[in-house]
């Protein structure tokens, strides 16, 4: 026990005295998350659009001046080439859209906007059709009124000269009933409701849980791995091996020593995203903290394990593209449901995958313990497995004794 705490105490002292490492551990994730927050949290930009051949068009009213610049065909083509506008719309019949096209997300924005305008065009068409119909009906009504006048005059003449025949005709004539006024159709509106989240949920709110996992993992991985690697390269591990300290005490000491900073880091980070960046969170903040904390441990144990296979710092960093980058892509940042089975299977082996799942459940879906215990359990399992392998890996450095 004493050895364990001597180990932990030494690691804590090392980190405290190494300001750079301390900063990398605690401040760097905050800085990067802030950056990510600005990038993904920003309101989506309005597309810049223009219309041409609008002078004689009936549809001009569908394209508001605020949203669509008026340009000549030549101007528009030039502006499109210079990327001053994202698209222009030719109002000559049939209406056509010309996009700049190099950025899919902007293309989407443009088409969204244009579709809204196209709906207005349809309304304009409907209204003009209605007006035409009304005119036709009115003309027919006029004709009918003239006929009725004639009939009335004929009736008067018959009353005077042949009242008997008139009475007969009146009896045989079918009763006409006045047609009912057509009902105006009810206005249809869409009632949108969200099971989770709301329409204010921006990209950062959705990415946030994955991002937190990725950066916590990355920084702990680097610092933990290099610090254990140094133990090997400077020869201090040999000195430990030539002392009565037990293998599990070395690994355990690392876990406790780093654990302290991991608690601090998780706490600072969680509070920061919740209260400063105001990330969407309907769950319990303590649950978030627990997940971040557990994830850090799996990062630490994995990094110590991999440092066994590295013989210098460079080789340690060579693990980053191998271990971290795939986790970024398979973490749940991007949908992976459509990927081939083996890719999804690889994704299931990645700690960040589980932390993202758990954090999304907590922060966006607001589930309690029942929603994240499974992911948390898997993360703990990762840590335990890595730690046990670590203890055996160290054994190789002290093969004679047991």
């Amino acid at each position: 026990m004493r050895n364990l705490f001597a180990m932990a105490r030494r690691i804590i002292r090392q980190i405290v005295r190494d300001r750079r490492t301390l900063a990398l551990l605690i401040i760097a994730p905050l800085l990067i998350l802030t950056l990510v927050w600005y990038i993904f949290g920003a309101k989506t930009a309005e597309p810049k659009l223009a219309i041409i051949h609008y002078e004689s068009s009936d549809y001009l009213s569908a394209f508001k001046k605020d949203d669509y610049q008026r340009m000549s065909a030549l101007q528009a083509r030039q502006a499109l080439a210079d990327k001053e506008i994202d698209a222009y719309i030719d109002l000559k019949n049939p209406v056509s859209v010309h996009l700049e096209g190099s950025d899919p997300s902007r293309n989407g924005l443009v088409m969204n906007k244009v579709q809204q305008s196209m709906q207005k065009i349809q309304q304009i068409n409907v209204t003009s059709m209605k007006n035409q119909l009304t005119d036709v009906i009115k003309a027919e009504q006029k004709g009918m009124m003239v006929q009725q006048q004639t009939i009335r005059q004929m009736t008067e003449a018959m009353q005077r000269y042949a009242p008997g025949a008139l009475a007969q005709i009146m009896q045989q004539a079918p009763k006409t009933s006045q047609p009912e006024e057509p009902k105006t159709p009810e206005k249809v509106s869409l009632d949108v409701s969200y099971l989770h989240g709301n329409d204010d949920l921006n990209t950062f709110d959705a990415f946030g849980p994955a991002m937190v996992g990725i950066f916590v993992f990355l920084f702990i991985f680097m610092i933990g791995g290099v610090s254990f690697l140094r133990e090997r390269t400077t020869g201090t591990l040999d000195r430990l091996m030539a002392s009565p300290i037990k293998n599990y005490q070395i690994i355990g000491g690392y876990m406790i020593g780093f654990g302290l900073f991991v608690i601090v880091q998780s706490f600072v980070l969680t509070c920061y995203i919740a209260y400063v960046l105001n990330i969407y969170n309907v769950g319990n903040l303590l649950d978030v903290l627990i997940i971040v904390f557990i994830l850090s441990f799996s990062a630490l144990s994995l990094s110590i394990l991999l440092s066994t296979f590295a013989s210098n710092e460079l080789q340690m960093f060579q693990f980053i593209p191998l271990v971290i980058v795939p986790q970024v892509f398979l973490s749940g940042l991007f949908p992976i449901d459509t990927l081939p089975g083996w890719v999804r299977a690889v994704g299931n082996l990645m700690p960040i995958h589980y932390s993202t799942e758990a954090l999304r459940n907590i922060m966006i879906r607001g589930t309690g313990f029942s929603g994240w215990w499974f992911d948390a359990a898997i993360l703990i399992l990762f840590s335990v497995v890595f730690m046990i392998i670590n203890i055996f890996a160290i054994r190789r450095s002290r093969p004679v004794t047991d």
Binding site: A6, R9, R239, L240, A242, P244, V400
Partner: protein
């Protein structure tokens, strides 16, 4: 007479290269044993195998006349070629850590740290960061870390390499002092004037101990003036056959 360390018929090879070829070595209590030989002759490997940091392909090791156990490490001080210190920590914190994992604590630990620091002339620099130490200071601190738990057996791998003659002499005075207190020391070295200070030396060449004995007896036996010349004499003998 007991044997603090005993290795019998040790063989070791890395890939195709034979590093140790049937080496047997027994240390007697209270002696300074010098392991000498050109670089690449297997000195460091032999020390590491004796310590249990590496496994011999075949052969037997005994520490304090027993199969090595973790507990035996309590009586063992090891200093490697690298300084093996924590650069972020102060000299005191380094010694404090190594003393702690050797099971020392409390007042005893503090006192002992001051004692060893004085012995290696670093008592004025205990609060300094190791990263600010010169090469010689690191070397001395590294030695202090091997001494801190007052072991009975020292394995020192090139303890004086890169040190100036004054400090070197001081350290050897220290080794003799430790020996006087009953400790056994095995030390590897290149430096020939250090060889004369050993009670016994073993000459290691290409994985074999080619000669072993008190320096004076050896030079007399081969009829040469220095231990260094023994290597040449033996080589000539081999060529002659």
């Amino acid at each position: 007479m007991s044997y603090p360390i005993k290795g019998e018929h040790l063989h070791k090879h890395f890939k195709k290269q034979v590093v140790l070829d049937d080496v047997s070595l027994t240390l007697q209590e209270g002696e300074i044993y010098g392991l000498i030989g050109p670089s690449g002759s297997g000195k460091t490997t032999l020390v590491r195998i004796l310590l249990g940091l590496e496994k011999a392909d075949s052969g037997k090791i005994e520490l304090f006349e027993r199969r090595p156990t973790l507990n035996a490490f309590r009586s063992l001080g090891y200093m490697a070629q690298s300084d093996a210190l924590y650069n972020e920590l102060s000299a005191y914190q380094n010694l404090e850590f190594f003393a702690s994992i050797q099971g020392m604590h409390g007042k005893e630990k503090k006192q002992r740290i001051l004692e060893v620091a004085k012995a290696v002339d670093l008592d004025q620099h205990l609060q300094k960061n190791v990263s600010n130490f010169s090469g010689g200071m690191k070397r001395r601190l590294s030695l202090a870390a091997a001494l801190v738990h007052s072991p009975r057996l020292y394995l020192l791998d090139e303890p004086t390499v890169g040190l100036d003659p004054v400090i070197r002499r001081k350290l050897w005075t220290l080794f003799h002092y430790l020996k006087g207190k009953g400790a056994t020391i095995i030390v590897t070295t290149h430096v020939m004037d250090e060889v004369a200070q050993c009670d016994r030396v073993g000459l290691l060449s290409t994985g074999r101990i080619i000669a072993e004995g008190a320096p004076k007896a050896l030079t007399a036996q081969y009829g040469v003036s220095t231990v260094e010349d023994i290597f040449i004499a033996i080589e000539k003998e081999a060529d002659g056959n």
